[in-house]
Symmetry: C2
Subunit: 135 residues, 2 copies
């Protein structure tokens, strides 16, 4: 599978934060409950988003998380790349893959790269705002 629960859950969190935004910080406990996802698991995924400045978290009472941009300024592509590594269809193109010594003679490398390009373009063309529930 190309997109695991990690990336899917991250997206759901972002959408949830967007849809339930009311100016205040939203505790992840609430999101976990609404989305029916383990709080602890979410807490392991969120650092990828906070460290890269997509959301801010504040500690303590009244704390929680909040988006820092308008929902239409987050692309799905950026969220998935941060949580899933890159959007590679094959191991050869993964972010941490060692350069294949057969790359020169590889018949399919080009095809995989072309696909990766398409995947990035597709997901970069969709924003969180696009995914929010319409009234």
């Amino acid at each position: 599978m190309m997109i695991s629960t990690r990336g899917r859950y991250a997206l759901r969190v972002m959408i949830d934060l967007a849809e339930n935004y009311d100016g205040k910080y939203i505790p992840m406990k609430d999101v976990a409950l609404r989305q029916d996802i383990s709080l602890k698991y979410l807490e392991r995924i969120l650092p990828a988003l906070t460290k890269n400045g997509l959301i801010v978290g504040v500690h303590g009472k009244g704390g929680g998380y909040k988006l820092v941009r308008h929902p239409d300024e987050y692309t799905v592509g950026e969220i998935l790349r941060l949580t899933e590594g890159n959007l590679s269809p094959v191991a050869c193109l993964a972010h941490d893959a060692d350069i294949c010594d057969k790359a020169k003679e590889c018949r399919t490398l080009n095809m995989w790269q072309g696909f990766q390009k398409i995947a990035n373009e597709y997901f970069d063309g969709i924003t969180i705002a696009d995914l929010m529930k319409k009234e």
Copy 2:
């Protein structure tokens, strides 16, 4: 990862059979050697291709495998779908996935389906002939 070694190896076998075609049957032992892939593992992957009539295998001396169509009549999409199941980016769309009870309210289902469509179209637009070494 969306495409595992299963699908990648199947593609390499098909390309190898196409490039080394000389009218005779080609033993998988030779392909395994050329491609540096375990013979035993290849033998586990091939049934997906023989059972669906993409290649024929004959037993015994002088036996081996052979393509039944011209290389430009095999799409990469068809080979990957047979070996990998369907080309689903997420578990929800996998061939054997049980219908999600949250599908109605899912904000992202549409997006995944759209991506799956694009993936299929991309790989259906490439044939084995396109991947063969050019003289």
